[in-house]
């Protein structure tokens, strides 16, 4: 710290971030004591009374007075939150009501006993997690904590006092506390208080209390508490210094070491938890980041499920204590650890001290991991952590789950059943080789028979791993001796040089078995890595093609399910920022947990610290901009989620899905913008067209009506006729606009509602020609309809409208004769309207389809009235029928419009009518 350096920019940014988060976050004050009875609750309540007198909004969430009158007196006058009654295994328990507290939102909330474990089924397993949520909601919290409940000191205190507590709080909670108030009492005073019955001791621990409250213990605990508080104060001082130097632009001594982080090695032993705690404490004291790693070697892979679970639980403990965790794979522990330490830029390695009791050492690796590491990485500091008396218990829920599942999980290697099978296979292989080799005895040299035995060992090693291979090697030596080496059928050996053969055979057999098993393990590891990479790759590829939220949901759920087995659900957020649940949610899925996950942006459920009793894991889908939904998974093997790699895989999958959801969201927004622009353009076109085409006949009507007043009597007839003509034109225009509006309004919902019915084409053509008569005037219309046209199913009014519009078009732009023709194929009806006019204008040649767009006219400026809606209406109607419409220049000039509609066989007309028809044919 004497070294003067420039302020680290990262540190400054971290400082700023912390300040920012704190302005929103509530402040945490911890009344910290060495042990029960020092007066934490009393101190907290006294301070609360002072705050109340100063007029602050202070509320008691939960306070244990333990029936002490002087403490109870302090509660008087303070507002208390009613406790929540919980039924648990037939008993009624009272719990702190987190939701009520969040709803009430006081300025300061008192929550006693930070280390308390909540009743199973509560939102969080531990009270300190409730406190975290309260702080996140911006509520200041005061709480109380004893030193023995601190996670990293749990083992140390247990070793001193001989009493272990199972309710622990991660050190980070204390470290992150804004204020730590040490409540202190001298050991003599405490013993006096205990004697006076002023210290609350739980009944079940009464005997333990006798040994606990010995003076020596109390002194030791007091020292630990004081030291821990001093560490906290030191952090405060450092933080303050950084802040000050930042503000004054000066320099500051390096407050923490960013490069020399710390790596804890988690082994299969029971002390692993202690190692992790030691590492956490060291990291805290050194102010460095720390990591925890577990090296899975072939030997460790064969551990039974319960021990593997323990290892995973220890890794989770490390994560809770602030470490980044990883599972490494390798042949041997030391090289993998050394490589990881180098990779993470670690300066210190923390190892558990090897167990001395009850084990014998493998002579070849006997020098120990520590020694080996020292040789491999001479620059590393190596700390050997002492082991505590007993191991920390696993988090209860995890333990229950994994133990419960082991019974079903028969596929796990290394169980007793498997060992037996391995042995039988080894025996079988040995017998098989012997049987095979016996007839060859005369033909082959003995050395070659040895080779056959080695092949057997390799086969066993490939199939079953190392231990059965070693068994097979041993059995083979015995069988070779017994059956082939003279004197045969005896273990005795006549020629001493065979002893060498046996030794070499055994040695080579063991070595080959070892190597083969190692290879097999490596192959297994790369297969599982490959699998992880593959499922990510496939998800990414499929998601990149998804265009709709529903597709992302489907693909995402399928990918997660494919990787983890079991059941997976992806729930995306809807427009109102809530979760949009599908109708068929699987059983066990809890909406309230999913909602919580979305709100808090944190994982919940299985193998997390929130609602760990759930069978499902809920992961927030965090995209760069915001949380987009929740991924819920009920894995086939809950233990998988304890493996850091698999948990990371789940998080990675979730991130991919989240990014895809966000992408789809923005694509939708972009599309909406395009649609908006398009409808804006249409609105302008409509206004332009309407204002022109409506005003023209209106102007004509006004002038004509005015001229009627002054016109000489013989002219009134002509003027009146002109008025009628203009009014009809206006009516046609308005009808078109109304039709289009009706067709459009239906389109937005679904397709136009059609009144389909079996229709005679001839009839509809006839009524269309009649309806178009005012527009056609004297222009003759010829029909070319085959006599045997079958009935076709369509909406007669709308199809008539199409024909009328086409005929009116022909009347407007074409020249006589106008021809309406119809023909049918097996599954099509083709209607054509053509004329002998100038044909389609040259400007639309090659892009005839544009004629069918709204407000499009062949000639942009012309005296011919109309807004260019006629063909757009035709197109909308025909498309609603599932047909097609096209325009082309007809052979020999003129325009030809073709409507194609699908058709099917019409229903039969009953038999007697057929008879009748036959009789009456003219």
């Amino acid at each position: 710290m004497t070294d003067i350096q420039r302020p680290d920019p990262d540190a400054l940014i971290a400082q700023l971030r912390a300040q920012e988060a704190q302005t929103q976050r509530g402040k945490l004050r911890i009344y910290f004591g060495a042990n029960a009875g020092v007066g934490k609750t009393w101190a907290m309540l006294s301070a609360a009374q002072r705050e109340r007198r100063d007029g602050h909004d202070i509320l008691i969430g939960v306070v244990e007075t333990h029936g002490r009158a002087e403490t109870a007196a302090l509660v008087a006058g303070l507002e208390s939150l009613p406790l929540r009654a919980v039924e648990y295994r037939g008993r009624r328990l009272s719990e702190f009501d987190l939701d009520a507290a969040l709803a009430r939102k006081p300025a300061i909330l008192l929550v006693d006993e930070l280390a308390h474990s909540n009743v199973q089924g509560s939102r969080h397993a531990k009270r300190w997690q409730d406190v975290q949520e309260l702080l996140a909601a911006g509520i200041d919290v005061w709480t109380a904590l004893n030193v023995q409940h601190l996670e990293s000191l749990n083992g140390t205190v247990g070793a001193i006092t001989g009493v272990r507590v199972h309710e622990t709080v991660p050190d980070t909670v204390l470290d992150d506390a804004d204020e730590v108030v040490l409540v202190d009492a001298t050991p003599d005073e405490l013993i006096a208080r205990l004697g006076a019955g002023k210290v609350y001791v739980p009944q079940q621990a009464e005997r333990a209390a006798q040994s606990f409250f010995r003076k020596g213990n109390l002194i030791a605990l007091r020292e630990i508490a004081l030291r821990r508080t001093a560490e906290h104060v030191e952090d405060d001082v450092l933080g303050w210094r950084v802040e000050q130097s930042g503000a004054s632009g000066g320099r500051v001594a390096a407050a923490w070491n960013t490069s020399g982080s710390l790596l804890a090695c988690v082994g299969p032993h029971e002390d692993a938890a202690q190692t992790v705690r030691t590492a956490a404490r060291l990291a805290g004291q050194l102010n460095v980041k720390w990591h925890a790693a577990y090296v899975e070697t072939p030997r460790l892979q064969r551990l039974d499920a319960a021990r593997r679970d323990r290892i995973l639980a220890v890794l989770q403990l490390a994560q809770e204590l602030g470490a980044e965790t990883a599972v490494l794979t390798g042949d041997r522990v030391a090289p993998a650890l050394a490589a990881q330490a180098l990779h993470l830029n670690c300066a210190t390695l923390v190892l558990g001290r090897p167990a001395m009791r009850g084990g014998w050492r493998w002579p070849l690796t006997g020098k120990g991991t520590a020694r080996e590491l020292a040789e491999l990485a001479p620059s590393l500091d190596i700390v050997e952590a002492a082991h505590a008396g007993s191991s920390r218990r696993l988090p209860q829920a995890l333990w229950n789950r994994s133990v419960g599942l082991d019974a079903e999980d028969a596929g796990e290697p290394g169980t007793g059943h498997h060992r037996w099978r391995g042995f039988l296979w080894a025996l079988g292989a040995s017998i098989a080789v012997t049987v095979l080799a016996t007839p060859l005895h005369g033909l082959l040299e003995l050395t070659n028979i040895v080779m056959l035995y080695l092949v057997g060992v390799v086969a066993v090693a490939i199939r079953l791993g190392r231990v059965p291979a070693a068994m097979a090697a041993l059995l083979n030596v015995l069988a070779f001796d017994f059956f082939f080496v003279s004197p045969r059928m005896s273990f005795a050996v006549s020629d001493v040089q065979y002893i060498v053969t046996f030794a070499v055979m055994l040695g080579v057999g063991l070595l080959v078995g070892q190597l083969t098993a190692g290879l097999r393990f490596a192959a297994g590891v790369s297969i599982s890595r490959e699998r992880r990479a593959q499922s990510l790759f496939e998800l990414a590829r499929e998601l990149s093609a998804a265009l709709e939220t529903s597709q992302v949901i489907e693909i995402g759920a399928a990918a997660v399910q494919g990787h983890f087995g079991g059941r997976a659900v992806v729930v995306a957020m809807d427009a109102s920022d809530g979760l949009h649940y599908p109708a068929d949610l699987p059983t066990g899925f809890d909406k309230s947990v999913a909602d919580w996950t979305l709100r808090q942006g944190q994982s919940a459920g299985l193998a997390t610290s929130t609602l760990a009793a759930q069978a499902w894991r809920y992961v927030p889908l965090k995209a760069p901009m915001r949380v987009r939904g929740v991924l819920a998974l009920e894995p086939a093997h809950p233990r998988w989620l304890l493996i850091p790699e698999q948990a990371q895989q789940l998080d990675t999958l979730a991130r991919q899905i989240a990014i895809a959801l966000e992408r789809v969201h923005y694509v939708n927004i972009a599309q909406q913008a395009v649609v908006d622009m398009e409808s804006e353009r249409l609105r302008n076109a409509l206004l332009g067209a309407v204002s022109h085409d409506v005003r023209t006949p209106l102007t004509a009507l006004i002038t004509l009506a005015e001229s009627l007043q002054s016109a000489p009597p013989q002219e009134t007839g002509t003027v009146a006729q002109a008025i009628v003509r203009q009014a009809h034109q206006l009516n046609a225009l308005v009808s078109n606009l109304l039709d289009m509006a009706r067709l459009e309004s239906d389109v937005s919902g679904q397709s136009v509602r059609l009144r389909r019915d079996w229709q005679s084409v001839e009839e509809v053509v006839g009524s269309a020609i009649r309806a178009a008569k005012p527009a056609l005037g004297d222009m003759p219309v010829r029909t070319e309809l085959p006599a045997d046209l079958p009935l076709v199913e369509f909406d007669p009014v709308l199809i008539e409208r199409v024909l009328v519009n086409l005929l009116e078009n022909a009347a407007k732009y074409g020249a006589p004769p106008v021809v309406v023709a119809a023909s049918t194929t097996d599954n099509m009806l083709v209607l054509k309207v053509r004329d002998l006019g100038p044909g389609l204008p040259a400007s639309v040649r090659g892009k005839e389809h544009t004629l069918f767009e709204k407000f499009t006219r062949g000639q942009t400026e012309s005296a011919t009235p109309g807004v260019g809606l006629g063909l757009a209406i035709c197109k909308a109607v025909v498309q609603a029928h599932g047909g097609a419409i096209s325009a082309a220049s007809a052979e020999g000039g003129g325009a030809e419009f073709t409507v194609t509609l699908a058709r099917r066989e019409p229903p039969p007309v009953p038999g007697f009518d057929d008879v009748e028809r036959g009789v009456s044919a003219p």
Partner: protein, 234 residues
């Protein structure tokens, strides 16, 4: 000649005035009503010879008025509809209205409909259709229908019609000038069991047109009211 009265139920004063002047010119005595309620009481008290009714009234649906009037009177009812929705016209016709006019319409159209619907008195059939033609002989175009001899001639030449075709033609003739909905026609010709088999109509109407029209694709007398029904124009 006895003075005939007409009741015009219409909420638009402009249209009311125009209808009034057109009918008064024809010698009608016109009563007006602006709402459904007024219309109902006027129909009861005035006992008009003709009812002209707008379907879109401010205080209710004109179809209700038709049902009410049909409960006690066979007076011809002509419906005015601003909407082009065929379902509404069919509902009004099936409820007992005799004919309809779609706005906008001209004086000529209105008077033609009035004449067509006064020509024949209503029969009290369930359909509200006239079934018995008054005169035994009927002409349209060059077609001559002789009911007493059950003969149909076209340009003087006898035309063979099947019994079904003949029955259909008779219904059209009895209601000449008026619109007949598909349902009404099906019931009259095939009975109530077939009232949803509208494709029968297409087939037989096609036959009739083949036999009686000069150009069946552009008929002049056997007209289709698109989506509603048929009308025989004399």
């Amino acid at each position: 000649m006895q003075i005939r009265t007409v009741l015009v139920v219409e909420d638009e004063p402009q249209i009311r005035r125009f209808v009034r002047s057109a009918l008064e010119a024809e010698g009608w005595q016109v009563h007006e009503a602006g709402t459904l309620r007024e219309g109902l009481s006027a129909a009861g008290t005035r006992q008009p010879d003709l009812l002209v009714l707008d379907l879109g009234l401010p205080d209710g649906d004109g179809v209700d008025l038709i049902r009410d009037v049909r409960g006690w009177s066979a007076v011809p009812i002509i419906v005015l509809s601003a909407r082009t929705d065929e379902a509404e016209k069919i509902a009004a016709l099936d409820a007992g209205a005799d004919d309809y006019l779609t706005k906008p319409f001209g004086t000529g159209e209105l008077l033609a409909r009035v004449r067509a619907n006064l020509r024949r008195p209503r029969a009290a059939t369930g359909n509200g259709l006239a079934m018995e033609a008054v005169e035994p002989a009927f002409h349209f175009g060059d077609v001559e229908v002789d009911r007493s001899a059950r003969l149909v001639r076209k340009a003087g030449v006898e035309v063979h019609l099947t019994p079904t075709e003949y029955r259909m033609l008779m219904v059209l003739v009895a209601n000449a000038g008026r619109v007949i909905t598909q349902k009404q026609l099906l019931r009259e010709v095939w009975g109530p069991m077939r009232s949803d088999q509208s494709h029968y109509l297409r087939i037989y109407m096609g036959h009739l047109r083949q036999k009686l029209e000069a150009d069946p694709a552009q008929p002049r007398h056997l007209l289709t009211e698109s989506g509603v029904g048929y009308r025989l124009a004399a």
